[in-house]
Each structure stands twice: as C-alpha cells, then as structure tokens.
Amino acid sequence: MATVSMTVNGKPVSGEVEGRTLLVEFLREGLGLTGTHVGCDTSQCGACVVHVNGASVKACSVFAGSLEGAEVTTIEGMANSDGSLGVLQAAFREHHGLQCGFCTPGMIMSAADLLARNNDPTEAEVRHWLEGNFCRCTGYQNIVKAIMAAAAEMRGAPVAAE
C-alpha cells in the first residue's frame, strides 16, 4: 500500500492505494465519486472517461498510484459553480442525447476534451472522436447532435433550426 495525493475537481485529496488500484476504483470507492462508471474490462467502452491534467483518459486504464500531484476532473466537476448545467450537459438534455444515462458521463468528458481542442468539429470528426465511447441505448444520433449544438453555442454561433 502507498499513499497518493492529487487534486480532484479542484479539491486536494489523498488516499491509500495498492499498486494495482485503478483510478476508477480510487474515484468510485476511495472518494465516493460514483459518476464515473465501469462498463467493460477491456478499456473499450469509455464509460470511465475523466480528465487527467487536461486530457481525456480512461480511468480504468490508469493506476491511481501513478497520478501523484495530478489534476483530475470527473463528471461531478462539470456543472457550473451554482449547480446549473454546463453548456455540454445542457445540450445533451435539450437534444435528448441520453436514455439510461450509464454512458453519459464518459460521453460528456470525452466530448469536452474534443471541444477544448477543436471548437468547430465536423460531424465526421465528432463521430471519429467518440469511437472510444459506446452507447447501447441511443444509436448515437442525438449524442452527436448535442455535441455539435454545444460546440456552436460555445463559439457563439447561431444554432441551426431543428
């Protein structure tokens, strides 16, 4: 066992972890942040995507012990400080980009990284970026729509009529 210290959603945290403890286990069980989900055991599904030092990462594929001093953001850190939904979250709600909600945190975290790097993605770029995120409910159409709409709003562009 070793102690690891990092910042999660702006707050300093530390905990005891084994060498094999995954970041997703540290978040869910160590810190009680259950918004990050485990959907597979092959790092394919993307339900566990978080941000580490500004980049999207699959929390099932990183050892917590390797993140000493890192800045981690999870879905719980994405709303505005007054609790209102961020632009991306609001767009998912507006465009019905979720049903059961299990893939949703990973989709939002993954999309947020895309939009931070590319604020005007084409639909093809959005779909390519999301290849590491699975959804079994929606068929992806409205997820893509939501991300495109969020990107437009963030750019201040007029949003196309439905």
Binding site: T34, E76, L85, R93, C100, G101, F102, T104, C135, R136
Partner: protein
C-alpha cells in the same frame, strides 16, 4: 399546434438532471455499511463433471469470510422458469433443475461453481484462484442440429436435448401440409437468427442485505422488474414471504430484456447475506456478462410460403429449432412459441398457418427474450420469404405484399394464429413509406451508384408487433406462471401534489417524465406537481415491470383508467382539496383485443 405540456408535449426529461451530473444511483453506486464482496468461480469448459472440489485453502486466504458450493445450498430451491409450455402431445416441457451453484456437472462456460465472499473484491478474486477445482471434460453439444441428433446429453431428463416439441395450431397442420403440396408455387428458405449478447452498458449487480433483528431481507438489483424478482426468488427459491423481502431496482443502465430474469447471483447474495448477517455485494465484469447474462435469439428456421397461380398466399409452414441454452431462463419457453407463432400472419390474409418449434438444450449460456423477443424473428422470416417469393415469380415485392395485405374492410380480422387485429391500413402505410423513400427514383440512384462502382439496394419490411404481454388471463392460459397485469396508485397529497406509484420500471425509457405527462393531462394539473415513484417493492406494493413495450400500454393504462372511475372535473385544482389524502389504487388487468 405542438403542446408544451401533457400527452404529446416534447417535455425535457427530469431524469437527465442526475444522469448528466454523475449523481444517478446505479446499483454498483450503492454501498451498504460493513458489506462483503462476492466473486464467483465459473466453469471454463462447456460441459464437464466436477471430479474434485477443495475450498480449504481459499477459506483461509486473507480477508475471506466464507466460501460456498452447491453442498451449502442443499436447502435452497433452483432458479425457476416462469413459463410452462405444453408440447404438441399435451405433455409439459422438460424442466431440469437450474441450481444456484453447479451440482456435480457444469453445463456451459460461465456456469458458477464456487462463491467466495471476502472483505474486499481483490481478496475474493485472489482467494478464488486458490480453489482446487477439477473438471473432467465431457463432449459438448453446442450446435443445435448436432444436439438433437446424437450429440452429448445436457440434462438426463432430456436425453435427446429436446425441451419441448410444440405445434401451433396443431389442428391446422394437415390442411397446411395439403395446401403446400398442392400449391402452384412454394418458396422455401432456411434462415438463421443468430445469437446475440444484450450488453447493456451497465453490467449486472446484486447486493443482498439482511436485518437479523427484524428478519427482513433486502435485495438491490439491476432489474427491469423488482416485483417479479420478489415473487420468483421469494416464493420459489428462498421461501421468504413477500412482506419480509424488499427488492429495490434503483437507476438501471439499460436492459433490453437481459435484466428481466431472476438470476442465480441475485438469489445467492440474498441467501449469503442471511447466512452471514452482513450485506453481500456482487458486481459482474463485462467478461462475466458475456458468460452469464441471458443471450438472445438463436433460431434456425425453415419457412415455406405457398401461393396460387395468381400469387395469393395460400399457406405458410414454419419449422424452428430454438436454443434454450444449458438451463431454462425465466421467460425462455414462451419466446419462440407464443411470442413468435402468433405473429406469423403478419399483415397478410394467409388462410392457413402452421409452425413447429423444437426447443433445444445445448451447452451454451441460457437464451431468453431480447428486444422484441420472438416478434423480430417472425417478421424476419415472413418478410424474407415474401421477398424471395416475389423474386422467384418475377413480381415486384411491394406489389406482392399489397396483393396479400388484409384489406381495410376485413377488420376486426381473426388470424389463423389466435390473435385478432382490431384495425389496420397496411396499404396506405406502405404507399406512404414508398413515397417517403422515393421508391420511384430508386432505379436512377442505383445506376448512379453503379457508375461509381457501388451497389445500392432497396428493402421493404411490413410488420405488425404484439407488445404489452398482457392480460393475465390470456398469458396464464398460455402457460405463464405469474399474472402480467400492471398496477398504479395515484395519491393526492395534502399540499395538492400528486404521487404516482407504478409497477413499471424505467431503465432508460424516461417514465418519470412521460408518466407525469399522462397523469398531469388526465388530472388537469401541472406536470411539475406529479411525482413518479418506481423501482422499490416497499413503496410500490404490486407490479410486473418493464419489458415487451408494455409500460405505456399497460402501466400507462393503469394510470389513465383512473379517469373511468373519477371524473376529471373532481381533480381541478380547487377540488383537489376535497380529495386530500385519498388514495386510488387500480389494477389494470385487461387490454382488450
């Protein structure tokens, strides 16, 4: 004019607030104080005899509290099947025991043999590797054709691996055979509806808890229907009366049918929690899901469509091998039979229909209802046969369908496969679809694609779907071992808000939003004043859950039928004060038609 509230309005979902902020409560998010963790050691061969099993080393591994095998579960029932099918000779289906943990034999890869319970999941997994389990490989029956033709016997009760041999409608078989023998043209197709793994994004989880002082059991489970689990597990496996067993299905991350069934893992953790007087939590990995979740489809079918010289359908004959897997799952026998055979008329006036279904045991994961359960299989077989028939006789596939559609003046229409259709205008629907698809322009598009080296096709499927799986009297007559009603309680609270307790359960369907729309419209109040309560058998006394597209049809009807008993005017805002505290409970047991 689009509405902004009530039925038909495009309301934004209430559920989204928690799902978008990571504050949903899925079963794995729940942790009970002092909980222990359960890990199953599963068979890695498809068929075998357990020749030796020694759990001594595992029992004394660090952090391990208990290690259980089938021997410890001798007083516990097996996992029940919820639907009995009678074969064409009037005999009940073969129903071998489905033990919670494998007894003597393993019958599919993933069959659970040993359960290790420890203070951490890692400790349980580490200890499982110390179990000394020897399995003598037996030949496995994996392919259905092989299984029924001398392949390895999966269960001694069914030496030929046939669970049942079902015919529908048996009295019509001779007439169908004659019509096919005398037909001007017969189209014959062999079709495979391949096996599917449901794979909802959320893997299964079960947490058993036991309050010794009150002798009360609680199961938290990723289920589409907590009341069904309470019934099957309480009555048939663990002998716990309803009032002592609470089943909670919180937020559930998708199901698609795979979370309908009562699973061995649910019964096991509930039982283990009672033995240890501590909560016991099991979380499936994705790999485990592939091995142990009920899978879908797996039909091999021969379909024959007979036509007269004018291309009228005169008869349909269908013969299916339906894979049950190694053990009968909750609804498995009804899927290839009642949910499939009764759809073989499709939209057509075929006068004679007969189907034979042989349900087959194999050394594979159990198969049960998945997204459409029997109806997509029927539609696929019928529509493929019609397309092939059109091709064979040189007729346009749309025109062949139009010629054979049930005409609008024939409703209500009694099909030869028991169901009666109340209404339909299939010709108009097809015309509209062809217009929207620009069928007329297809040939030009096909040529343009061909010029670019691409192939372009045009497909048609015209279908009817039976949803709801109700009412109780009908399904009971067909072999269901539980009623298939739905129930709703609408309570008017002292401050004027409305609480709706529904036996339906949302696992992505958005009932918290849509049912509020229905009730608000019916009672003439704000949607925001209506709260939908579901998923907890201690809060909602009765229900049958969500599957088969039934929740709005049956569950919503339960809510809506309140209007039949109380006039809407009584519920206008001012009058609601008169009804403060009144509770209206209704069982909506019948869907007509």
């Amino acid at each position: 004019m689009p509405k902004d509230a009530g039925i038909g309005a495009s309301s934004k979902r209430r559920e989204d607030a928690r799902f978008l902020t990571g504050t949903g409560q899925y079963t794995d998010d729940i942790n009970r104080p002092g909980q222990l963790y359960c890990h199953f050691l599963r068979s890695d061969v498809a068929h075998g005899k357990i020749t030796s099993l020694d759990t001594t080393a595992a029992k004394s591994a660090p952090g391990v509290v208990a290690v259980y095998t089938a021997e410890d579960l001798a007083a516990v029932g097996g996992v029940p099947c919820g639907w009995q099918v009678t074969d064409k000779h009037g005999e009940p289906m073969k129903e071998p025991k489905h033990p919670i943990l494998a007894e003597g034999k393993v019958r599919h890869v993933g069959d659970p043999v040993v359960a290790v319970i420890a203070e951490s999941l890692d400790a349980a997994r580490d200890a499982a590797e110390m179990v000394a389990l020897d399995i003598e490989d037996l030949p496995a029956a994996v392919n259905m054709a092989d299984a029924i033709n001398g392949g390895a016997t999966v269960h001694d009760e069914a030496p030929d691996n046939i669970c049942f041999d079902w015919g529908f409608v048996e009295e019509n078989k001779q007439a169908v055979d004659d019509a096919i023998a005398n037909a001007a043209h017969v189209t014959k197709l062999e079709l495979v509806n391949n096996r599917l793994v449901a794979n909802p994004m959320e893997p299964r989880v079960a947490i058993g808890d036991y309050d010794r002082a009150r002798d009360e059991h609680t199961l938290y489970t990723t289920s589409q229907n907590p009341h069904v689990i309470r019934l099957l597990m309480g009555a048939f496996v663990l002998s716990i009366p309803e009032h002592k067993l609470r089943v909670v299905a919180p937020d559930v991350g998708g199901g698609f049918g795979s979370k309908i069934y009562h699973y061995a893992e649910e019964a096991f953790v509930t039982w283990a929690a009672t033995q240890l007087a501590k909560p016991v939590k099991w979380t499936s990995t994705r790999s485990e899901a592939f091995l142990s979740d009920a899978q879908g489809r797996d039909h091999v079918t021969t379909i024959e469509l007979a036509m007269d010289a004018e291309h009228n359908f005169t008869a349909l004959r269908c013969s299916t091998l339906a894979n049950m897997g190694a053990y009968l799952s909750t609804f498995a026998p009804c899927v290839p039979t009642w949910l499939h055979g009764t759809l073989l008329a499709g939209n057509y006036k075929t006068p004679l229909i007969y189907t034979n279904v042989k349900a087959v045991f194999t050394n594979t994961a159990p198969v049960d209802a998945y997204r459409g359960a029997g109806r997509p299989e029927a539609t696929y077989q019928l529509e493929r046969a019609i397309d092939m028939a059109a091709r064979e006789v040189g007729m346009d596939p749309a025109e062949l369908r139009r010629k054979n559609f049930i005409p609008t003046d024939a409703f209500p229409y009694q099909t030869p496969v028991a169901v009666q259709y109340d209404t339909g205008d299939y010709d108009a629907t097809l015309t509209k679809a062809m217009e929207l698809a620009d069928a007329a322009g297809f040939e030009a598009r096909r040529q343009e694609s061909a010029a670019r080296g691409k192939l372009r096709g045009f497909g048609i499927a015209s279908y009817i779907e039976a949803c709801g799986i109700a009412p109780s009297s009908l399904v009971g007559a067909l072999g269901a071992r539980a009623g298939l009603y739905e129930a709703a309680t609408v309570r008017v609270n002292p401050t004027g808000s409305i609480s709706v307790f529904t036996g339906s359960h949302s696992h992505g369907q958005g009932h918290e939003t849509t049912f509020a729309q229905v009730v608000a419209e019916m009672l003439g109040c704000d949607e925001g004043a209506v709260d939908i309560v579901h998923g907890d058998t201690s809060k909602v006394p009765f229900g049958m859950g969500t599957y088969g597209s039934r929740s709005l049809a049956v569950g919503g009807s339960a809510e809506f039928s309140i209007e039949k008993h109380y006039s809407v005017e009584k519920f206008r805002f001012f009058d609601r004060k008169q009804l403060t505290g009144e509770t209206i409970t209704l069982f909506y047991a019948a869907l007509s038609g």
